[in-house]
Subunit: 112 residues, 2 copies
DNA sequence: GGCCATTTCTACATGCTAGAAGAAATTGGG
DNA sequence: CCCAATTTCTTCTAGCATGTAGAAATGGCC
C-alpha cells in the first residue's frame, strides 16, 4: 500500500544517538549513550544489527579508524548520518509531534 | 537481557491516536487520524493487528457498542488506554525527549 | 438482495533481541 | 622477548516480535 520507509523504534533511538555523538559514534559508545539516557539495558548485538540495517537503507555510512593506544583498543568503526538519515529522523520527529500536539498526557495513576 | 516492554514505532502512533480520539477511538477512525496527521497511507489491517497486540499486552481495552443508525453502520469496537498504556506512552515520549535534548537538528540539505 | 462501514483473518516481510564467537590491541610474568 | 591473559570492540546466528497488505466475513440499512 504505502512506501513504508519509516523508522522502527530502536532505529529511531540509534539514529538520534549517532547524531548526538558526532565523530564518536561507534557501536559500544552508541549502546552506552542509549543506556545512560533511557535507562534501557540494550544488548550490543541489537545495536550493531540496527546500525547495519540503517547502513543498508542508506541512512548512515561508516568509517574505519586506526586503533587508539589503549588497552584493548581495537580499531573502531564509526557512523555518520547521511542526508537521507537526517530527513528520516526529522520526519519521525514531526510525525510524533503531529500526533501529540495539543494533547494532554494523563498521569498514569489517573487513568484506568 | 532487558525486560523489553517498549513500544514499537507504529504501536506508539496507534496509542497516541487512541488517546487523542477519546471515546471515538475505533479501528477505521484511528486509521484516518494517523493518515491525516502524518500523511502516512496506513492499511487497515495494520491498525487492527496492532490494536489487538496492544490489547494482549494490556495497554488498551476495548468495548463493543451498539450500531449507529446510519447506512452500513456496523457495530463499532472502541478502544481505551489502560493505566499501563498511559505509562507506556509517557515512557516512550520521555525516552525520545532524553535522546533529543539539547540537540540541534540538521537541515537535511546541510548534511551528507 | 445489494450496498456500505466496519471488523476479522491470514500470511508474509521487516525489525528487535540476546549472547556467543571472533579479532585486534595492551599488559605483565617467566 | 614471548606467550597467555585481559580488554575493547565487532561479527555472526537464530529465534521471536512488529509491521504490512489485502481479502473475507459481519451485520444494519434501503
Amino acid at each position: 500500500m504505502a512506501k513504508g520507509n519509516s523508522l522502527g523504534e530502536f532505529e529511531h533511538l540509534v539514529l538520534l544517538a549517532v547524531l548526538r555523538l558526532g565523530t564518536d559514534a561507534y557501536g559500544m559508545r552508541v549502546r552506552r549513550e542509549i543506556a545512560d539516557r533511557t535507562g534501557r539495558d540494550v544488548s550490543i548485538g541489537a545495536v550493531y544489527a540496527t546500525l547495519d540495517r540503517l547502513a543498508d537503507k542508506g541512512l548512515v555510512t561508516s568509517t574505519l579508524h586506526d586503533p587508539t593506544p589503549e588497552r584493548g583498543g581495537r580499531a573502531k568503526r564509526s557512523f555518520q548520518l547521511t542526508g537521507a538519515g537526517a530527513e528520516a529522523v526529522n520526519r519521525a520527529r514531526q510525525d510524533l509531534a503531529s500526533m501529540q500536539e495539543g494533547q494532554v498526557f494523563p498521569h498514569p495513576r489517573g487513568a484506568q
